[in-house]
Assembly symmetry: C2
Homo-oligomer: 368 residues x 2
């Protein structure tokens, strides 16, 4: 299973923690007295302990260089739900978000299906290692205008899925200047924040807002989507988070969150777990260490057979370059090669085409 970006490298640490903290569960003699209140609690603000713990964890996974306000933490049903709620809040049907390619295929469903919102691709390619540029942003924005599409926002994924790369400070500054100048919203998907396993480190958009005081930025335009599916490896727990600097969006998203709240049983457990500083510290260090090791072994193996990957240091996957193995530089050839890999090599990888990549021959392979 190398097609699904899931993280199973650290479940032993979590299991140990749970056994050592039976009071963190409402299903043990130590915690059962809270069962009644927790199962019956239904409030779209969520448990206060949970919001506090998530805010703290978000800060920690961003190096504690910034803080997050628990009152801006809004729950949703996974990152899937978080993206949809954000789109519902920010745009009307027919309006659009710019999205740099290659991007996570789920966005086509999550952001568009029920909201009627459009996605306009921003062209990035291998010529500069898929780095997002101001020119590409301007081109996409202009193209949308020509097509009479109203652009309401820009959606970036940092660290990137499928690239496994992180955005440097210069790029993030460009992004902020761009959205501020155009008066459009910025949605930052940071669900891979804690999967960065080597230097350079991850820079959250929150740090740009705090640090880069020389560039103008209306904070009301900035929103972060977060989740515990990748960083903790808990996709089943459905913890999606919207963190918005905009009060109106916080209020609207909170009301919409009633369609996809996090189970209070899960809120309760996670509140306790994420509030344990010593555990979180150890977990994150160990997670980065194990990811780095897997990455080294995996890309090392590929290198031995002459396969290169895009230089990356985050995520649970690599962006593998098989362009030289294509019969022709076409997506038909890519699909042909993909079928060989799936059926004969029997490894489940994802072709670049599914991420809207414009250059045939790239594949995402999950290694975690």
């Amino acid at each position: 299973q190398m097609g699904l970006a899931e993280n199973q490298l650290t479940s032993d640490l979590v299991e140990d923690w749970i056994l050592n903290n039976p009071e963190a569960s409402i299903c043990t003699p130590e915690g059962i007295n809270d069962f009644r209140a927790i199962a019956n609690f239904q409030d779209y603000h969520g448990l206060a302990e949970f919001r506090n713990a998530v805010a703290k964890f978000m800060a920690r996974t961003r190096g504690n260089r910034i803080t997050f306000d628990p009152d801006r933490i809004v729950m949703s049903g996974g990152a899937t739900g978080a993206h949809e709620v954000t789109a519902f809040c920010l745009a009307d049907p027919g309006e659009a978000f710019l999205v740099p390619i290659p991007y996570y295929p789920g966005f086509d469903r999550d952001l568009r299906w029920r909201t009627g919102v459009k996605l306009v691709p921003v062209m990035c390619d291998s010529s500069n290692n898929f780095v997002l540029t101001k020119e590409a942003l301007e081109d996409a924005y202009e193209k949308a205008r020509e097509d009479n599409i109203r652009v309401k926002g820009l959606l970036i994924t940092n660290p990137s899925n499928p690239l496994g790369t992180i955005m440097d400070r210069k790029t993030l500054r460009t992004v902020v200047s761009f959205i501020n100048e155009k008066r459009i919203h910025l949605v930052c998907d940071e669900i891979y924040a804690a999967t960065v396993f080597s230097q350079p480190g991850f820079i959250s958009i929150a740090e740009i807002l705090e640090d880069e005081t020389d560039i103008e930025c209306d904070r009301n335009l900035v929103h972060i989507v977060y989740s515990l599916s990748k960083d903790m490896g808990f996709p089943g727990f459905r913890v999606g988070i919207i963190y918005s600097y905009n009060d109106a969006v916080v209020n609207c998203a909170r009301k919409m969150s009633s369609f996809g709240l996090v189970s209070t049983q899960t809120q309760y457990l996670l509140a306790s777990m994420l509030n344990d500083d010593e555990f979180v510290e150890r977990f994150l260090a160990e997670s980065a260490k194990r990811l780095a090791q897997r990455f080294r072994v995996f890309t090392g193996g590929l290198a031995k057979v002459g396969i290169k990957c895009l230089q990356s240091n985050a995520g649970l996957f690599v962006w593998m370059d098989l362009r030289q193995l294509l019969k022709k530089p076409t997506f038909d050839s890519e699909t042909e090669l993909w079928k060989v890999i799936i059926h004969e090599v029997k490894i489940n990888v994802s072709p670049g085409y599914s991420f809207h990549c414009t250059e045939p021959g790239w594949f995402r392979v999950c290694f975690a």
Copy 2:
């Protein structure tokens, strides 16, 4: 707190069960070996054990006179999410559902806010104890046609919130004939199925489909919304269920459920709990007994001071008739009286106006 329909009468039974079944939790030494698989499991079909257990529980809460197919069980974020997903599946923006009044105020948000669907009231009043009639249905349907509104479905709540009454077989037959004749969908909210505490018993729409073979009914038009928030008293666990007899709706709703899946931690616990026949049997019997007793004490107390309620035998509330206490038969007077009750009697009740009742002077009071 008598304004919120919540059920806390049986949490002691649940607590006992949990302590006696530590393997049902992935947070105990007995269950921890499953933590890894469960936290990492993410599939919009849900755990097979969970779907089986819910199907069985739905049958049990409907007297085991019918069975439910686990493959038609679709998860959603509470009944809130279930209603929205159903509306997204069945209607386009501007199209409408008929809804008998008085109805749960949340429908105005859940069904309409993001879907753009309309709700058209079906008039019911105290002249026949708020029973839904064929004439009222036809009138509402005709009225919508005159207003150029396309009616796509009928939404009924059985047992009724706020009335606390159940629909008899004759009414349900009328409903089925009506929707079949008009070729519109029927959404049955049965989230209070297990709160029936005295005769006559609850009849699910599923029984009408099974038993009443003399009336024509296209099953593709019928959908049930269920939840564990009221019957088990677990609103915090966010278990909403869509059970549809229509394959296309099952498939579409299942894809949409990714916006509001149930936490696998919670699925795992509930699968085990609801599969315990002996426990479920005892729980339901005890729950009905305690509800009946509360109801008796509560309405007895009201009767002593001359306050009558609509004759009911289900739900966590009564529909209290304070018409004789109004200064004038207006909603202004109702609001005035409501303020007195809230501020001076200091009891949180809900005025009939909020349920779209057309007759001033009715109030919903929660007793569970």
